[in-house]
């Protein structure tokens, strides 16, 4: 279990008054304080870590968010912003003395401007909800995390989320135009807008990926794009993880950037096929989903080049999707992959390291060796084109020893990523999960400078304080 800072006793002692204060600011259904009803808020997509909060607040407007933050700031209460609660790094893990501020009720699309290709939505709109709002007109919102069905755009900004198609279109930061944020003391601030690149500092860049530690996002203006003329996915099956890894590197270094280039190993292929019935090659050790898009001629040209490269890696099979339904099933399997692993293991830890693609074969081999050493199975499902690994370490939470081994295994994987020239997190954020590994990536001077940014926005360290930075440092700040 991950260490948490000691709760502030003076806050716990004022619990009833704090709850009463929240009830004055929000409708009756917007404040949760009964112990039984707080339990479901004790965790997010990383269910191995749990801590019920002091209370949950569910505001419905930016003004209510501001009022709640102003009140909690005055009271010195820690604040945990929460979207859909799908974080795989424990980004929304509460603290015993903190109030969870859930943004789920801010779920309206505010404006769509097709002429200037942007949309303004509230933070609690789901990622796919943006695409669904504009796809009738032929547009889409590009970043597509696998949890896009459920995860909310506010959380995407907080974690600078990626997705399968970010190989071509970039991550959240590259598709963002403006934000409405609420500071910890309750001021409402607009940053950027429906235009490219604001004057002055790159505040959007600073706030994107700040993991709810600098401000609470309540509205987001995103770039929407016109959809491609068409897209086709190819499934390439290989005899070994390392071979598929080498093929990925060969494709990327040939200069081709497919719209998506995804990797799945044998356990992942079998779990996902059971869910999606997509026709995945069950005889393969590893499989790549390679998608290209554009006009039919463009697709044909790219697919034939990719096919040539794959054929140099002794593939078991190469299959191009023949219909929109088949492509949908292929992506349904990939996007549901993490959940599908629930079919073969009661629990998993999902790693999120990023490495140079040239090191893929070596890193996959070494993860396989670690799997044997720790006695825990691994399913590899990841954005191969970006070198963004997602080894899922399978364990049994009812067995404390297996969980302890899984945590150590995970830390070793991430240290390996840093060792080969990569980083701890590609798209899930540091959260609480990778917090204690930050000193493997950064020097004490690096971290001290980063913490000064947090100090500037939130001098009392009330916003999501126990995340991102190694706890010793946080505690010093909070004291």
């Amino acid at each position: 279990m991950i260490a948490q800072p000691a709760p502030k006793q003076e806050v716990l002692a004022r619990r009833d008054a704090i709850v009463a204060g929240l009830r004055r600011l929000l409708p009756e259904s917007g404040v949760i304080a009964e112990p039984i009803r707080l339990r479901p808020y004790e965790t997010d997509g990383l269910a191995a870590y749990r801590q019920p909060p002091l209370a949950v607040a569910l505001p419905e407007t930016t003004e209510q968010v501001a009022a709640v933050l102003r009140f909690l700031h005055e009271e010195g209460v820690r604040i945990i912003p929460r979207g859909a609660g799908t974080s795989l790094s424990g980004g929304a893990l509460p603290m015993a003395d903190a109030v969870v501020v859930g943004l789920m009720r801010l779920n309206r699309i505010l404006a769509i401007d097709y002429a200037d290709r942007c949309a303004t939505v509230q933070a609690g709109v789901t990622n796919i909800g943006i695409t669904q709002a504009v796809q009738g007109t032929g547009f889409f919102y590009a970043p597509d995390p696998s949890s896009q069905l459920a995860c909310m755009i506010g959380g995407n900004v907080g974690m600078n989320s990626g997705g399968a198609h970010c190989l071509r279109y970039g991550v959240t930061a590259n598709n963002l135009l403006g934000l409405k944020i609420v500071t910890v003391s309750g001021e409402i601030i607009d940053i950027g807008g429906a235009h490219l690149d604001a004057a002055g500092y790159d505040w959007l860049g600073l706030l994107t990926g700040s993991e709810g530690q600098l401000a609470v996002v309540t509205e987001v203006t995103v770039r929407i794009l016109r959809g491609p003329e068409g897209a086709r996915a190819m499934l390439a099956a290989f005899r070994a993880n390392e071979v598929a890894g080498a093929c990925v590197d060969a494709i990327i270094s040939s200069g081709i950037i497919p719209v998506a280039l995804e990797f799945m190993d044998r356990p992942a292929i079998h779990a996902c096929e059971a869910f999606a019935h997509a026709g995945y090659p069950l005889d393969a050790e590893a499989m790549l989903i390679i998608e290209v898009e554009g006009s039919p001629a463009e697709q044909d040209f790219l697919l034939s080049r990719i096919r040539e490269i794959c054929e140099r890696h002794d593939p078991i099979s190469l299959k191009v999707s023949q219909s929109a339904e088949e492509s949908a099933a292929i992506w349904k399997g990939r996007k549901g992959a993490f959940g599908a692993v629930g079919r073969i293991s009661p629990d998993y830890l999902c790693m999120d390291g990023t490495i140079p693609t040239g090191r893929l074969p070596e890193v996959l081999r070494r993860i396989g060796e670690m799997s044997e050493r720790y006695g825990l199975k691994v399913a590899n499902i990841f954005h191969a084109g970006d070198g963004n690994l997602h080894p899922l370490i399978m364990f049994d939470a009812n067995d404390p020893d297996s969980f302890a081994r899984a945590e150590r295994f995970g830390a070793d994987v991430l240290r390996l990523c840093v060792e080969v020239g990569g980083c701890l997190t590609g798209e899930h954020g540091v959260g609480v999960e990778k917090r204690d590994l930050m000193d493997a990536q950064f020097t004490p001077t690096d971290l001290a400078q980063q913490r000064r940014i947090k100090d500037a926005f939130d001098p009392l360290w009330l916003l999501n304080p126990s995340k991102v930075f190694p706890l010793v440092e946080t505690l010093k700040q909070a004291a």
């Binding site: 259904s29 949760i32 009964e34 039984i36 009803r37 339990r39 479901p40 808020y41 965790t43 997010d44 997509g45 269910a47 191995a48 569910l58 419905e60 859909a84 609660g85 799908t86 859930g102 789920m104 009720r105 779920n107 609690g124 789901t126 796919i128 949890s147 069905l149 459920a150 995860c151 059971a274 869910f275 549901g336 992959a337 993490f338 959940g339 599908a340 692993v341 629930g342 079919r343 009661p346 629990d347 998993y348 939470a397 009812n398």
Partner: protein, 443 residues
């Protein structure tokens, strides 16, 4: 997900089954996005993942259910949209059914809630009582506006009166226990679940089913002793009466299976079909012979649309030139995963079929939900009707009486899929639609 049941708790087969369900969940949260109550209410506690957590806590602690747990579990429609979405294959239906039983056994509801539930359980599964109750409600309907108060009780009474039929209540021409012989050569022999509430609310659905099937060469038997499938009481957590209803059906159809034989047990109310298909699970801990009979019955159950696709359907009338908004009942699309058959058949019958946006979201009917949770049910109905109207259809088709009743009164005729199929194959025009186009023989 981690669970903490003791070895002794796990000796209870119901706890053991729920433990398996909980262990399958990895808490990914995908289910929240397609849950109608989460979409409306924006609270984890009103999402499947939140309910799973509340139920886990209740079962692990072994304590009686509290009002908080009951409130959030009661708000679940059991639409099972979460099961379609879940990548891990969590069997939410079995978990929430178990939770409803525990709540019913250990939580004392307010008096008016207990009375209403007792009344619904005593009336809905019995066609005679249901008919009498509807006649009374029809008389009471003009006074609905006079029911006072914004209390739960007042809202529920108004909701009940609003559902009473407006016109004269129709009577069936083919109702009752009997065998309807096939026309021409007999190709199959099936039992029809004649049902309970549906045969009172719209007896034309059974009539159309029997006409269409016998015309296609299917012998249809309405077996003596078969009645309510048990779903209505099952979903209220009333375990014993639900099991008794299921047991009666199993016995009745087993006599037919072992007598003249059955090729299928056809269901035209998809809410019931979901429960019938689950009989094997419901009787999993019973004696071996009963378990086998339950499994055999469950394995024969087919929605009318599944069965028609299997034996082949062809219209005999010219295409009617009508656009049908196909409303996928949750019990059919999520509970039974029957999604394509009804649309395929309607297109084959000559209708233009359109599918409204948010087709995965429940219309709010959900068995007795629209009576017990009128506010959420009404918001879902209005949202559903808005999505349907956007497709500019001539009528709405669905395979479940609950949805048809819920969506009636929205300005569009609501017709059971099988009534449309029967019409285009020579049957009478469903009530509320224009007269049938001329017959031209098999197209």
């Amino acid at each position: 997900m981690q669970t903490s049941f003791t070895a002794e708790q796990l000796r209870d087969p119901a706890i053991a089954a729920s433990n398996q369900v909980l262990r399958t969940c990895v808490h990914c949260g995908f289910c929240t996005a397609t849950c109608p109550t989460f979409v409306l209410l924006g609270d984890e506690l009103d999402s499947p993942r939140g309910r799973i957590y509340l139920i886990k806590d209740m079962l692990e602690s072994g304590r009686p259910a509290t009002g908080d747990v009951a409130r959030h579990v009661d708000r679940c429609l059991s639409c099972l949209s979460c099961m379609t979405t879940c990548p891990s294959g969590v069997h939410y239906m079995h978990l929430v059914d178990h939770a409803r039983t525990v709540i019913e056994e250990t939580f004392r509801r307010p008096w008016h809630d207990r009375m209403l539930r007792a009344l619904l359980a005593a009336v809905l599964p019995y066609p005679g009582r249901m008919r009498a109750a509807l006649a009374a409600a029809r008389l009471g309907r003009p006074f609905a506006a006079l029911v006072p108060g914004s209390t739960t009780l007042g809202r529920r009474l108004r909701a009940m009166l609003a559902l009473a039929p407006r016109g004269q209540m129709p009577r069936s021409t083919l109702d009752g226990v009997r065998t309807h012989p096939a026309e021409g050569t007999r190709r199959a022999r099936v039992a029809l679940l004649a049902g309970c509430a549906q045969r009172v609310l719209d007896p034309g659905i059974n009539d159309a089913t029997i006409r269409l099937l016998t015309r296609l060469g299917v012998e249809v038997v309405v077996a003596r002793g078969a009645g309510c499938c048990g779903a209505l009481t099952h979903h209220m957590g009333r375990h014993a009466p639900a099991m008794a209803s299921a047991r009666a059906n199993i016995d009745a159809w087993t006599r037919e299976i072992e007598g003249d034989g059955l090729d299928a047990i056809v269901v035209n109310t998809s809410g019931c079909g979901t429960t019938l298909k689950d009989y094997g699970f419901m009787f999993r801990t019973g004696e071996a012979a009963l378990r086998e009979r339950a499994e055999r019955v469950a394995s024969l159950v087919a929605d009318i649309s599944e069965f028609l696709v299997r034996i082949g359907y062809a219209p005999t009338r010219e295409p009617p030139g009508l656009t049908v908004a196909y409303h996928a009942a949750c019990s059919l699309q999520h509970g039974q995963r029957v999604t394509e058959a009804p649309k395929l058949l309607l297109r084959k019958a000559g209708f233009r079929v359109v599918e409204p946006a948010e087709g995965h979201l429940c219309c709010g009917s959900a068995g007795t939900y629209n009576l017990l949770q009128p506010e959420i049910a009404t918001r879902l109905r209005d949202r559903k009707l808005q999505n349907i109207r956007t497709t500019a259809p001539d009528l709405i088709a669905a395979g479940n009486i609950g949805c048809l009743t819920q969506l009636a009164g929205g300005g569009l005729p609501t017709v059971h899929t099988v009534a449309l199929l029967d019409w285009m194959a020579g049957g009478p025009a469903p009530a509320g639609l224009k007269p049938a186009p001329p017959a031209t023989g098999t197209r």
